[in-house]
Each structure stands twice: as C-alpha cells, then as structure tokens.
C-alpha cells in the first residue's frame, strides 16, 4: 500500500498497517525534517524495522536532489539478516510501483568470519583467526612476495578483486550476507573487501554497533560516511553499556605475561630486520617524524587498526622522539608492562583517576603522558613495518597499548580500579586492573556530531527522559508508543505476597529468609501445574540462582516441579547454555513442558526469544539491581551524579527496571502471541519502581493485579490462559481497529485535513 505522510509518499510493502506503525512513521518523518536526533520506544512485534526502512527509503525518494543514506545498526548478525530480508521485500515492492527510480544499493557488512568465501581461511574457528588468516594471504608485502615467488600462497578472490579495481562494483539491489557471498563466489571477487568498498556508495548499510561506536573499528569503516546520513540504532536499550564497553580495558596477569612474550618476539623481529633490511626501519622513522596523519596511503587490506578516539590534532602531531626508534619504543613498552605488573601486586583495592595514574608512571617508569597517548599508533606502525601478519598472536600487547593510549588521552570520565582478588573468593589471588569508562557519551559523541539524524529505538527505553541525559544529546522527538491489540494478549502481574500472605522480595536482608525462598518455590510449583509448555524464570544473579535452587532441591520443591515440567538452567558456559536451550525447546515442542532458569543481564535475557509456546509465562524473581558494592559501579554512579546530576537511586532503579522489562519482554514477539508476566517482589508495587516500566506493559497492568498473592495469581493465570486459547479475529472489531488498510489511512488523512481547516 502507499499513502501520504505530509508531503512524503510512503511505500509500504504490506496491505495493512498497524496504527502505531503509522504514528511511528509520522514522528520519524518530523525528526528527519528537523534534521535532528530522535528517541522512539515501540514494543517488539509491532514491526519497527519495516516502518523505519520504508519511511526512510521513501523519504529519500521524495527528495531526489538531497539523497540521504541510511546506516542501520543491529546488535547481532541474526538481526542483520532479518533486517536485510525485510528490506528485500520492501525493495521489490518499491521497484514494482516506482520503477527504476527506486533502485537502491543496500548491503550488510560483517566481519570476515561471516563474509569470507575462501574455504581455507573461513575454516578457522574464531573471528580473530579468520582475520589473521586473511591477512596472511592479502597483506601487501605477502602479495609482493608472491609476485616474485609463486609458491607463496595468496587469496584468489582478493587478487581478482584487486585486478578488477574500479570495475569491481555491485549492481544496485539488496544483498543479504548470503547473496553477497554468492555474488562474490560467482564473480570471483572477495565479498568482504567488495562490501567494504561499496559501503561508501551504498544507499543503505546494515552493520553492527561496533562499526560506529568502537573507535578502533569506526575509524576505518565509517570514516568517510557522508553527513546526510540517518543512523539507526535498533534494540538500543543497552546502548550506554555498549559505549562504555567500547572504551573500557581490563588487564590481568595473563595479559601482562602475554605482552612480555609479544615484546620478546617483536624484538627478535627487529633484530632480524636490522640484519637484512635496515632501510625499512629508517623509512618508518622518517615517516613518524612527519606525523601520524601522513602514514601514507596504505593499501586498504593493511589498515587493520586505528586509534581509539584520538582527537584530530594528535594525528597531525609528530610522534614523540623517545619512541620513534623501534628499540626505544620496545623499551618504553617493557617498562610500562613492568610497572603495571608491579601495580598488580597490591594487597588492597585501589581506585585512581587517569591523571593520578599517569603521574607515577612518569616518575617511576619515566614515561610521560604524551608518550602514552601515542602507544597504540606507534605499535600499529611498528607491526606494519615488521610485516607481522599473525595479528591474533599479538592481542595482549595491543590491549596494553590500547590501555596506555586511553589513559594518556582522557582525564575525565574514567577511573582505574585495581582489585587484588575476586570479592566472592578472597582467598584466591586474581589481580585485575580495570580501566573503566563511566561516560557513555564519549563514544557516541562523534556519531551525534557527524550525522544529521540519529534514531535510537527499542522496545524498552523507559523512562525515556533519562537516555538523552546519559548519552548527552538533545533529541527533537522522543516518544513512546503503545501496542494496539485485538485482545489483551499480555497479562502482567505484580506478586507481592506468597501463599502464606507474607511479603516476598530479594532485598538483601530478606533474600535468604527461608520463608521467602519457600514462597518463591511454591509460586513456581503452582504455576507449573497450570501453565502449559514453556516457563522462563529470571533471577537477579547467578549466585542467588545457585542458592535458591539448592534450597529448593533440599526441601524437595524442585522434585515436585520436575513432576510437571523438566528443568533447565543457564550457566556461564555458552556451550552448556546453548545445549540447555536446545533441549528446553525440544521439551516444549513435544509437550513435556519445561522450565528455564535464567539470569537477568545474562546472555539468554539479552538475545534469546521465548516466543509462542516457548514462553507462556515469565517470572521475574526479584528486582535485578546491579551489584551495588562493585567498585566500577560505585565509581560510575559518582561520576553520573557529579557530571549529569543523575541521582544514584534513579540510575539504579532505571537500570534494574529496564533489565526486568527486557527479561519479561522476551515472551511476546508478535501480536498473535500471548504470554503472562509475573513480577515477584513486593518492591514492584511501589509507584516509583513500577512507573519506570515501558508504557506498553504498564497499560496492561490493571490495578487489580498490583498486589497479588500466589493463589490469586494462580486464578488469574487460569482464566487468562483459557481466554487466550479461544479463536479470535485478527483485524479487530470496528471500534478497536488494529489493522489499517489504505482506505482507512486516507480517511484519517482527510479527517486531519478537516481539523486543520477548521
């Protein structure tokens, strides 16, 4: 269907549209008109992706003289594939209705692991080794060597791509990763480099957050994107954490040992080079005198590292004299590693600011701040000069240099925390030095500054006023949309009391109370007997989950639960968890029924959907506050309070509630689906906590369901499940229209016109 939103004709590939999609598009369009950033919350399962894609592409068709580029960031490769598949559908529809003018180029960019077609390279198990394998075949010196000696292996795909040079372009169309690989194979061109090249000219680029947020990668990939771009961060409820992680480094003893090994290896290489080819080292020295920015136009295959968010002026500065010579630089690094390992030997927990950390370095190890700042680039340059291809071996020394550069660059927004042991196991020394970033706005700031519109969207962004403060930007539109439903297919409940009418909570002083543990157990036991197929339970932490399951096991509750359903548990081991999930799904499929015990903030809570029968009920045991004694969290809270005037309590509640909403939101992935959500903690009934839940959950949370005990919840669950099992009409009745056709929209358009006229 096609319809008008103000002056833009929107081409939408489906015959019907949800009302919330329509209003989402209107808001989005206004944000694009204003060339500003926006923050939009809409529940999952309402077709955010297609609404975004069809509006932005249609918008760019309607303004052919100022074409805008769409940069769509997803969290996982799976989501990327889904987005591209939707885009294919949309593109076909637009081609049919608009003809050749609708032709666009849309590609997905992913790591070599996902795009490589060279069978020998892609066989490696992890991402780093694929990257290294690729470099071994495509680095410029390897190819130069191969030109002389045909025995040196190279990658045929890359050679063909290089030969085709500027002729190597993708014809317009939408390419999923699969199609890109197929195209590459057919033409004999390397799809990865082809994609990286085409990113600059494509109309739509779909890639991962890291390509924009992680300064190490962003510098290479996203450097040349035009300003007239719309950047979309999908599923962005954790974007502040992604930003922070991109700029945080942690160093353990193993890292330092590895770094020492790397340094020895590098010094051997330098000696070897001195004996055979001293001129290369000299050339590098000269280059460094002139400054980093003039590194020269290295072939694209070679620039695999970039500096972490260096201000531009540093790039133009000359490298300090004491690290220009390779040996000197090695000495500096040696001293740094030694100093760090000395710091790790501490007995107490230490917390310092970057400034306070740098000054003893200069007094003890004789390395000043400016030198530290250049470490990362200097290492990069050195490794290129030494023609090192197995970069995956050198990750440790890279971490050290990354750390040094960050410490040298930023004075504010970071802190360095050294902990001699893990708090849970004080007897085992496991020292760790963490450079933790507290300010999410540091990493995302360049994005907001560079691009005309940035769209941050997710199913859970509430409270919506906190995000602009955390990320330090000013959205022109920030709105939260509700879900229009033909029937009340979600049933949130707040359970405050157990079957014996005593309050339940995971508050620190109550959580180990046997009464609370028993009440939680009873709740689950009752629920497994009335809810069919799959139930998902989220606990506040691994240690709490371990504890409560042990107690349930001792008291026999677990055994009773297993009478009704099989029990699966998420562990910290990814393989184990994947296996557990797989079996959980099978148990749900075959009708045996299953319960999955999981942890809020865990892998499962973030990325796994429990839609349809895989999750008919989700129970959130407790409020998933962060571990408030963690040094990093305390430092961050302090920073937030001082810099953004965000109260500690506000941030903690916000963070806990968005995690809870994220967990319970796992069960409902489409409008045809249905599911119940139980928030089992008395604290949820308090208004200040509850009001921070997303509005699409709040609007279904009836007052009657705010203060339930186990037996009342049981009764409501029974009724709800019976009601939902009845057949229903998908389009909704006339007064509660949930699917709009083209005529409906035209009618609405006329109505608003009338309102404007009178």
């Amino acid at each position: 269907m096609k319809f008008l939103i103000e002056d833009v004709t929107v081409y939408f590939p489906y015959d019907h549209i949800y009302p919330e999609q329509y209003s989402y598009m209107i808001e989005l369009k206004r944000a694009l008109d204003a060339k500003g950033h926006c923050l939009l919350e809409m529940p999952t399962g309402t077709g955010k992706t297609i609404a975004l894609l069809s509006l932005i592409t249609s918008y760019s068709f309607s303004r052919p003289h100022t074409p805008i580029k769409l940069i769509y960031c997803t969290r996982t490769v799976h989501e990327m594939e889904k987005t591209l598949a939707e885009l294919t559908l949309l593109h076909n529809y637009q081609l049919k209705h608009l003809g050749p003018q609708a032709r666009i180029l849309a590609i997905g960019l992913s790591s070599r692991k996902n795009l490589c077609v060279n069978p020998t390279v892609v066989a490696s198990e992890n991402r780093d080794s694929v990257d290294a394998g690729c470099r071994k075949l495509t680095a410029s010196w390897v190819r130069a060597m191969a030109a002389e000696n045909p025995d040196v292996p190279t990658c045929g795909f890359f050679e063909n791509y290089e030969k085709a040079a500027s002729a190597a372009v993708l014809p317009p169309g939408v390419y999923t990763l699969q199609e890109l690989r197929a195209f590459g194979k057919q033409k004999g061109w390397c799809p990865y480099f082809l994609a990286r090249h085409m990113v600059q000219v494509a109309n739509v680029v779909v890639y991962s957050y890291q390509y924009l947020l992680d300064p190490k990668v962003a510098g290479i990939i996203s450097k040349e994107m035009q300003k007239e771009s719309v950047v979309v961060f999908d599923e962005a409820h954790n974007i502040d954490n992604v930003c922070i992680e991109a700029l945080s480094v942690s160093i353990r003893r193993q890292t330092l040992e590895g770094a020492t090994r790397n340094l020895t290896r590098i010094s051997q290489e330098i000696d070897g080079f001195k004996a055979t080819d001293a001129s290369k080292l000299r050339a590098e020295y000269n280059r460094l005198v002139e400054g980093l920015a003039l590194r020269g136009n290295l072939p694209i295959a070679d620039n695999w590292l970039s500096n972490p968010a260096l201000p531009d002026d540093i790039l133009k500065e000359a490298v300090p004299g004491n690290i220009r010579k390779a040996e000197h630089f090695l000495h500096v690094l040696r001293r740094l590693v030694q100093y760090l390992s000395g710091r790790l030997d501490t007995e107490n927990v230490e917390k310092e600011s970057p400034v306070g950390f740098v000054s003893p370095i200069s007094s003890h190890a004789g390395i000043d701040q400016k030198t530290l700042k250049f470490c990362y680039d200097r290492l990069h340059s050195l490794m290129l000069t030494l023609e090192i291809t197995d970069t995956d071996e050198f990750l440790h020394i890279q971490t050290i240099c990354d750390f040094a550069t960050l410490v040298g660059t930023y004075g504010r927004g970071f802190s360095i925390i050294i902990e001699p042991f893990d708090e849970r196991m004080p007897s085992i020394p496991d020292p760790i030095l963490q450079l933790s970033c507290h300010d999410a706005s540091l990493a995302i700031k360049p994005v907001f500054e560079r691009f005309q519109s940035v769209v941050i969207t997710s199913g859970t962004l509430s409270p919506i006023d906190l995000f602009p403060r955390l990320l330090d930007f000013h959205p022109v539109v920030s709105r939260s949309f509700k879900m229009s439903l033909t029937r009340d297919c979600i049933c949130p409940m707040v359970l405050t009391r157990g079957s014996d009418q005593l309050p339940v909570s995971t508050k620190f002083d109550m959580r180990s109370d046997p009464g609370v543990v028993r009440n939680y157990g009873k709740l689950l036991l009752e629920m497994v007997s009335v809810v069919p197929d799959g139930i998902v339970c989220f606990f506040v932490s691994y240690s709490y989950m371990d504890g409560i399951i042990n107690t349930w096991n001792d008291t026999g509750i677990l055994k009773d639960i297993m009478q009704h359903k099989l029990v699966f548990i998420e562990t910290q081991d990814v393989v184990e968890t994947t296996l557990a999930l797989d079996n959980y799904r099978r148990a749900c499929d075959c009708g045996r029924g299953a319960v999955f015990f999981s942890v809020a903030r865990g892998k499962v809570a973030e990325g796994i959907d429990f839609d349809r029968h895989y999750g008919r009920l989700v129970i959130m045991f407790g409020v998933p506050f962060q571990y408030t004694l963690s040094k990093i969290l305390l430092a961050r809270l302090e920073y937030l309070r001082d810099t953004f005037q965000i109260k500690e309590g506000d941030f903690l509640t916000f963070d806990a509630l968005r995690q809870a909403a994220q967990c319970v939101g796992r069960v409902i992935r489409s409008k045809a689906d249905y599911g119940m959500m139980i928030f089992a903690d008395k604290r949820y009934s308090r208004h200040d906590k509850r009001s921070k839940l997303p509005s699409w959950i709040l609007s279904h949370l009836q007052d009657a369901n705010l203060n339930l005990s186990t037996d009342m919840a049981l009764h409501i669950a029974r009724e709800f499940l019976r009601k939902m099992a009845q057949p229903y009409d998908k389009t909704g009745s006339s007064d509660r229209k949930t699917l709009l056709s083209q005529e409906d929209l035209e009618k609405m358009g006329n109505g608003s016109m009338h309102e404007m006229l009178y």
Partner: protein, 421 residues
C-alpha cells in the same frame, strides 16, 4: 431465566448422586453458590438497574450465527457418514482438579454421555470406542461398537484419576485399532485432555506423522489451556482444537463434534458398501449372542448371511464381518446430505409496516409474529416456500425435524394454493 432454572435442577440431581465423594470437601454455603451462580443471570442496563439476562435473545442469536457459519462452509461438501470414532479420555491426575464443579472428570463424564447419545442420533451408521489414559498408560475401555448404553455404562464405572498422561501411548493404541477399519469408514479420534503435559516413551512427532499417514482425524478439546503439541496434532491431521472456558462452553464444544465432518478427499470416491439388514429375532427364541457370548431370550438381530446373533445395531457381524444396519439408520443419515437451507431473517420494519393490513403468523405454530415478543428481527422466512416462521419453530425445524413444513405442505397441496392466489 430458563437457563438458571435448568441449572438448578441439574445441580440438584448431581448433588444427590455424588454428595459424599466428590463434593465432600466443599462447604454447604459454597456448594449452593457454585451450583446456582445466581449472580450470573443478572446484568446491568443503561440506567444502572439490575435485570435478568435475556437468555432467549442471546440463545437465538447464537443459534443463528452457528447456523450461518455451518451453511457457509458446508454448502456442497461431501460428508463422511460412516464414522469410526475413538473418544480418548484423559484420566490423569489433572482430571481430578476442581476448577470445573464438582470436578473436571465429573463434567467430562456427564457431557460424554450426552455426546454419545447425540452422536448416535446424528450418525446412526457410525461406531464409537472409548480409550482412557491413566498412569501414563492408555487402555481400551470399550471396543468400537454401535451401542451407546454399553459405552456409557463402561465409562461410568471407571472414573478414578491418577498419574501422568501420555498422548503418544493413546495415539499409538488408537492407531493400531483404527488401522483395521475398512477404507470407506472415517477414522476419527476425539481427545478430551485435562493435563498440560504429556509423558511419552518416544518421539511423539513420529506418531503424529503415522496418524496422518493412516488418515486419522484427531481433534482435541482441552480443559485447561492451549498446548502446542495438541495444536500441532490437530493441524497435521486436519482436526480441530479448542479449549473450554467453562462447563457450558465445554458442552458446546463437544457437541460440535457430533454432526458428520466433511469427507477426506481420498475417501470421497463413490464406492459400494456391502451391508446386511438383519431381522429382529422372534420373541422368546433363545440363542447365544456373538457379542457378549451369553445366552439370551429374544431381543437381538440375526445376521442375514451367517445367522449369528447380535444384540445391537449397527455393528459388524462377529462371524462373517458383514456390516449390519437397519433401514431407519440409513434414513436418518439422509438429512445430512440434503439439509434444509437456513431461513433468511426478515427485517422488523417489514413486519411493522402499517400498510400491510394482514397480520403475519408463524406458519409453524400459528402465533402472531409481532405479538410473540415485540422484539425486532425475530422472524425468518424460508427461501423456497416463502413462509414465515418464528425463531422457536426455526430451531425446531433445523435441529429436530429436518423438514420444512412449508415446503412439504406446498408440494402436497400445490393445486389448492394456486387456486387460492
């Protein structure tokens, strides 16, 4: 109010039946309210006054809707008239739950009884068997046969619930039985499922595929909530899946399975079936019947081919395997093939039209259509003979009589009506 009164009577009867065992742990005051549910027969009108629900109107509108939906789907569909139905009753622990009063199993038993009678009334050529699931094992309670009484008696004796439920065991058992059915018969399973899980010995997906291959149509009525595996089973085998909201809804759902379903395409080829029309044995003659292996005096039918004695019709002769039916059975099946077309509703404005002097009466009961309730849209007209009927007669004609009195009298007295006009 009719409904409420009916309920009270029902409830009273039941109370006497099983006062001691099932209802024992309910308090007296609780019992009266759960049975009567007197508050449900009240509703608030626009002005906030309480008044009894107009059950009649509700009932009529429901009926019209059902009729319309039936006629729209079943217009020209060949029906499977010879059905072999297994009723699978879940007697696991979940069936003893008390969310249906007095308990799920009591409700199931009550309505299965009604269903079996209705089934044989509507499908005189068909046969039924009962399978129960208990302690994870499926048992054949009664073999497939045509006598409602024997099934009901057998079922009423075995209503204890325990253990888990196993869908796969039940399906395997039923599949084994139904495989031996002659190809013209329609194989069906109706599962009344209380449990919310199934404890199976093997891969149930394989069993479902097996059922699908042997063309068994599996339908499930759940008593608690929707289960994925049941839905999957019904989708794969072409059955229907429904979940009961309460007792009356359960009754409605189970009775929906009584009229014959559309025939499966493979079986829809016309073929001839060999049947015997046995004679009723002479009063006073003593013989050993082939079904119960007992000597009986009189009452029974003699197979025309092998002269064996059978107690009930329809059945299959135990000795020669001939299908034994009586001619009224065949005749009763006839109306499924040629149902009366649903009557059209007459707009109330047409009835109230002051220009028409003559008052319109119902052709069935001769009541005046306007006086009968002064409600709008209560009259219907037969599309063939154009006679008017009231709704009560409409229901009687479609559900019990299966003949339109208007059309039939028209046929007989064609000449008379012609002269009158």
């Amino acid at each position: 109010m009719n409904n409420g009164a009916g309920r009270r009577i029902n409830g009273g009867v039941e109370e006497e039946d099983d006062e001691d065992d099932v209802n024992g742990d309910l308090d007296a005051w609780e019992r009266t309210y759960t049975d009567e549910r007197s508050w449900e027969s009240l509703q608030e009108d626009e002005s906030g006054m309480l008044r009894p629900i107009d059950n009649q109107a509700l009932y009529h509108s429901q009926y019209r809707r059902r009729l319309r939906s039936l006629s729209s789907t079943a217009a020209r569909i060949q029906k499977g008239l010879i059905r072999y139905l297994y009723i699978v009753i879940d007697l696991s622990k979940a069936a003893s739950e008390m969310d249906f009063r007095p308990s799920r199993i009591a409700v199931i038993a009550k309505h299965v009884e009604a269903f079996i009678r209705e089934f044989f009334y509507q499908n005189p050529l068909s046969q039924v068997g009962i399978v129960t699931i208990k302690d994870g094992v499926a048992n054949c309670l009664t073999d497939i046969g045509g006598s409602p009484e024997s099934h009901i008696n057998a079922l009423m004796k075995k209503l204890e619930c325990s253990g888990d439920s196993s869908l796969q065991n039940a399906l395997d058992l039923v599949d084994g039985y139904l495989n031996q059915i002659p190809s013209y018969g329609h194989r069906e399973v109706l599962i009344l499922y209380s449990a919310l899980s199934t404890c199976d010995p093997g891969d149930i997906m394989e069993t479902i595929q097996k059922c699908r291959k042997s063309k068994i149509r599996c339908s499930v009525i759940g008593l608690a909530a929707e289960m994925f595996i049941c839905k999957h089973l019904c989708q794969e085998t072409g059955g229907t899946y429904s979940v009961a909201l309460d007792e009356s809804h359960f009754k409605e759902l189970i009775l929906e399975h009584a009229p014959p379903p559309p025939a499966i395409a493979e079986f829809a080829v016309a073929n001839l079936i060999k049947m015997g029309f046995p004679q009723r044995a002479a009063e006073g003659s003593i013989s050993i019947c082939s079904c119960h292996k007992e000597a009986k005096v009189g009452a029974g039918y003699t197979c025309p081919r092998c002269k064996a004695r059978a107690c009930e019709l329809p059945t299959e002769c135990r000795v020669c395997g001939l299908t034994l039916v009586s001619s009224p059975h065949l005749a009763r099946s006839y109306h499924h093939l040629f149902p009366i077309a649903p009557f059209d509703e007459v707009p109330s404005s047409y009835l109230n039209d002051p220009i028409r002097k003559q008052k319109i009466n119902c052709f069935g009961c001769q009541q005046n259509l306007l006086d009968s309730g002064n409600k709008a849209g209560l009259a219907v007209v037969c599309p063939k003979c154009k006679r008017y009927f009231c709704l009560d007669c409409d229901i009687y004609i479609h559900e019990s009589l299966h003949n339109c009195p208007g059309c039939d009298s028209f046929r007989h007295s064609k000449a008379a009506t012609a002269s009158k006009d």
